[in-house]
Amino acid sequence: DPAIIYDLGGKFDKSFNEAAYNGAERWKAETGGTYKELEMQSEAQREQALRRLAESGANPVVMTGFAFGDVLNKVAPDYPDTKFAIIDMVVDQPNVKSIVFTEEQGSYLVGVLAAKASKTGTVGFVGGMDIPLIRKFACGYAQGVKAVNPDAKIIVNMTGSTPAAWNDPVKGAEIAKAQKAQGADVIYAAAGGTGIGVLQAAADEGILSIGVDSNQNYLHPGKVLTSMLKRVDNAVYEAFKAGENIEPGIEVMDLAKGGVDYALDENNAALITDEMKAAVEEAKAKIISGEIKVHDYMADETCPALTF
């Protein structure tokens, strides 16, 4: 059986891990198969969890989150017959598949929408843990915003510097309120469970928010502008489907492959005008065609549109 390990936020974080859960469930519904799953409770458990799953014969073992990288590097060689897949991190082992996303492209798209929807010309970004990966989101977002409104002000806040930052809705809400006070009227939350607080506060305060990873539009219908979809669900689904024959190596899930996107559904249909839609679809096409190159923060740890 395949197995999946969720990171600290837990599988019901309505965001990153939940997307992975949805992928696994979709596989289950379609194939009728069973899978093992595990939620991390603490940093120190990662190794035991990996080993126990590998021991139990699970194959492949999929894990969500960069934090497994180091441990996987250590564990993978001990189980050469087991295939592993890790999302958001590159682990160079013969039996590991690394799946990464071009979050900067998806973030660019929602940045375009944010700039179009903002009346104040100030937009916000709330990140989770302050790591290059999250800066990559922020940087792509900023590029999208600036593409529409070069004078826009972008307020960036990170929730914290530890994994606890993925799961701190109180702090998310307080940061969102602070950003609103500074003039932001659209806030993009790339912060896992913390984002729930951001979306809630934005809805309470009557401003717009942008969800992340899963489609979060439904959380506050008419108040969430859109969501940056990161198809972790697809990644997990594909990995489960490939089963033991999963191909090791690096897979980049980009916009062209449908790895990232923005969400449009009945919950936000009223918020996205035709003009906005046209703009974002144009940007999308240009990115896919390569006409627009969205800078990847992690390539050189710099951002043309933002200073951290």
């Binding site: 595990l38 940093e43 458990q45 035991q48 021991e55 934090a67 250590k74 790591i131 994994p163």
Partner: protein, 363 residues
């Protein structure tokens, strides 16, 4: 009130407390619509069913022996050290600094050095609450709780801002050099006949056993131990006997902190081989339950540590293979502490009629 015979006090009371905790846990499991029997079976198989399972149980038990002994030593000086968690955390820092500061050629050299680092850092973290208790009368329970939180904050800061290697995203130190790798049970000749798969239990287990014995010697065979016990029973009397409260408080807490710190040899050096956030996983707190359950005697601590190793590993297995959340083990742990530490009088009262009846029969 009839007094219980000593053996009842030492054996029966903890067992009945455990039984009560078990019964209530079973009720909780029933209440959430699961089968206690199934839960127990999963735990037993997962924690005791194979050498591999034992490898985990013993790994956790090793940690709990250290933290249990830490609580025990302080307890005999009538100091309730709730700070094991923080002291073990700091011990981990000591281990990490030692392991990373030098390209260790062989574990036999790295281990003693790391032990010194762990003990020193753990003791240092206990020293301030100890001093505040001895000199300023600040209640050690409150100060050690505060120091747990301060330790957590300190480690986060250090991991994120100082110790994290460039380019790494998760807050952890670099990996320790190969030479600092402690042999795991599956890597030790002879022992590896039993443990044929890689298990986290490592040579620290033997150090923990030695520590149990040494603590027993300390408490019941040395002058310092005598002074610690005397001071713990009666401070005025200790003063009369010329035992310095300051000295005993400091020494007991330093030893306690050092023991808690030494735990990090097991988890930081022996298992994860780098310092992580929350590396202790609550072992400092479990030490309280272990000490209470073990009646503050090193041998009791040894047994209780095995029990809690079983609970911890078994609980992890529950989380892994059943839909019973892993938090069940926190509940059991809390109930054991409650019954052995706070409701022991109730347990005794339950036993008294039985012994009174026996006495009457005998008479």
């Amino acid at each position: 009130m009839t007094r219980l015979p000593r053996w009842a006090d030492l054996v029966l009371v903890p067992l009945i407390s455990l039984l009560l905790a078990g019964v209530i846990s079973a009720l909780v499991i029933l209440a959430i619509g699961q089968s206690p029997w199934e839960a127990l079976r999963t735990m037993v198989v997962g924690a005791l069913g194979s050498p591999y399972a034992w490898g985990y149980t013993l790994y956790y038990a090793t940690s709990f022996m250290f933290t249990g002994l830490a609580v025990t030593v302080a307890f005999h000086a009538s100091l309730f050290n709730i700070g094991g968690e923080g002291q073990a955390t700091l011990g981990g820092l000591g281990v990490a600094l030692v392991c990373l500061s030098f390209p260790w050629p062989h574990w036999t050299l790295a281990l003693p050095a790391a032990m010194v680092g762990a003990a020193l850092f753990g003791a240092a973290w206990a020293a301030i609450p100890a001093w505040l208790q001895a000199r300023r009368g600040s209640h050690i329970v409150i100060t050690t709780i505060m120091f747990n939180y301060i330790a957590a904050a300190l480690i986060i800061y250090l991991l994120v801002s100082v110790l994290k290697p460039a380019g790494q995203m998760d807050p952890a130190t670099a990996r320790f050099p190969e030479g600092a790798h402690l042999p795991q049970l599956n890597e030790i000749p002879l022992v590896n006949l039993i443990f044929d798969k890689q298990v986290p239990a490592n040579v620290t287990l033997f150090i923990a056993l030695i520590a149990c014995w040494l603590v027993w010697v300390l408490l019941w065979r040395t002058r310092l131990g005598y002074e610690i016990r005397a001071f713990g029973r009666s401070e005025p009397a200790a003063l009369y006997a010329g035992i310095s409260p300051f000295r005993v408080t400091m020494l007991a807490m330093l030893i306690s902190g050092a023991l808690a710190g030494l735990m990090s040899i097991n988890n930081v050096m022996g298992e994860s081989e780098r310092l992580l956030q929350n590396s202790t996983e609550g072992a400092g707190f479990i030490g309280i339950a272990v000490a209470l359950m073990g009646r503050n005697h090193p041998f009791g601590v040894f047994l209780a540590a095995l029990l809690f190793g079983f609970l911890f590993q078994g609980g992890a297995e529950l989380g892994l293979w059943t839909t019973i959340p892993i938090e069940l083990r926190t509940v059991v742990q809390g109930l054991v502490i409650l019954f052995t530490g706070a409701l022991d009088y109730m347990v005794r009262m339950m036993l008294v009629p039985f012994f009174r009846a026996r006495k009457l029969e005998a008479a």
